[in-house]
Symmetry: C2
Subunit: 112 residues, 2 copies
């Protein structure tokens, strides 16, 4: 899915993750978001566009400002995809548990 492409690659950049982290505190304008970074405003604008295209943020229009906030849609798609991996890992883990349990049983058996 190309949504996942966009979402994951948006999340791959530390600046963009920092922006999202900042947005967990609530809405912020472009300049607000740019402030903490040693980076020009156009650079931040591009990052925001990437995040928006990926469905990770939305923007309101308020006069000359464009306050950004977190959007839920892309996250939930990512979650759905990761669930597949999580479940597989859980299955493997259960299997490992079984193996370990069997090993222990055998050991006990051998001991006496």
């Amino acid at each position: 899915m190309q949504t996942l492409d966009a979402a994951f690659s948006a999340l791959a950049d530390p600046t963009r993750r920092a922006i999202l982290a900042r947005l967990t505190q609530g809405e912020a304008t472009v300049l607000d978001l740019a402030k903490p970074f040693d980076m020009t405003q156009p650079a931040i604008s591009r990052h925001l566009k990437v995040l928006e295209t990926a469905g990770l943020i939305t923007r309101r229009i308020e006069g000359t400002k464009r306050p950004c906030s977190l959007a839920p849609s892309a996250i939930s798609e990512i979650d759905r995809w990761l669930d597949m991996l999580r479940q597989a890992l859980e299955r493997n883990y259960d299997r490992l548990d079984t193996v370990l349990a069997e090993m222990k049983e055998n050991e006990e058996g051998t001991k006496t």
Copy 2:
């Protein structure tokens, strides 16, 4: 964190996600993994290296084969990070609920 950089950017590629999906079915060799793709073996080897570096897979050595399997570590780091966003979104959602509830209350109040 650079683990997150590597993990998210590894997941950004559809071929690599397909490889991971395949690995949810269990261990597979490089050639096994290459088969479904219209792509040369070296290309797949590189993808596997990316996944391994990102901590998403591990490889055993078995004679001349290198069977790959899913690794849990990177996933759990991703999960921890995404939790931050999830929680923020949940808070926003709750707040929205409150707002809607208040709107409804006001409406009721105005009606009579």
